[in-house]
Amino acid sequence: MIQLTNHPIDPGAVLDQVASHDAGAVLLFLGTTRELTNGRRTVSLDYECYPAMAEKKLTELEAEARTRWPLTGCHVVHRLGHLELGEASIAIAVSSPHRVAAFAAGQWLIDTIKQVVPIWKQENWADGTSEWVHPGMTKP
């Protein structure tokens, strides 16, 4: 299952989605709002997405993860809107009979989501300025 939400992510609810008697390993990854980036202070973040395509890509990636690894559960939630420091922007939970698959699938999902899913974050810096983050794009 995948979900885009404007509400805070509840890690316990995400874990519940992947619980299974066939699981020996459960992995949860949370991306959280960090205060310092290259020495600059962030006070908050705003996330926006291209909803139809973001849902489609997340759904495709979940299906691909389930094909690549023997998962007993896979759930991805991405937060949108305004996030305060310390809040989670993404939660990825996977469960599997064995831990190697859980780690591999979790790592592949976060790496791939960061490359292909049309979601963007805006850093709101402590100096009052804001800036969309576009990796590899030179500043104007």
Binding site: A52, A54, K56, S89, V116, W120, H134, G136, M137
Partner: protein, 81 residues
């Protein structure tokens, strides 16, 4: 033909709108769309080298032909996760 292109993040910010209408020859490709946007929307010119385009919610190759009614979006480098 006239094609609507959705804008996000810095692209939306540059133009001040979340969608633009681009004038294109019939059966234009993504490559031609890139050129047309550079010409018709100068504030986007310098970001175009870094963006991908999505057609009907999939990333499209430069050679993809665009047809009236398809859903096109300009996708700056993503930063979710």
């Amino acid at each position: 033909m006239k094609l609507s292109v959705k804008l996000f993040a810095v692209a939306r910010q540059r133009v001040g709108r979340d969608q633009i209408d681009v004038e294109l020859p019939e059966a234009a490709t993504v490559r031609e769309l890139r050129g047309a946007i550079a010409e018709q929307f100068p504030p986007l010119a310098d970001v175009l080298a870094h963006v991908r385009f999505a057609v009907n919610n999939d990333y499209a190759a430069e050679s993809t032909a665009l047809v009236p009614g398809c859903e096109v979006a300009l996708i700056p480098p993503v930063s979710g996760g």
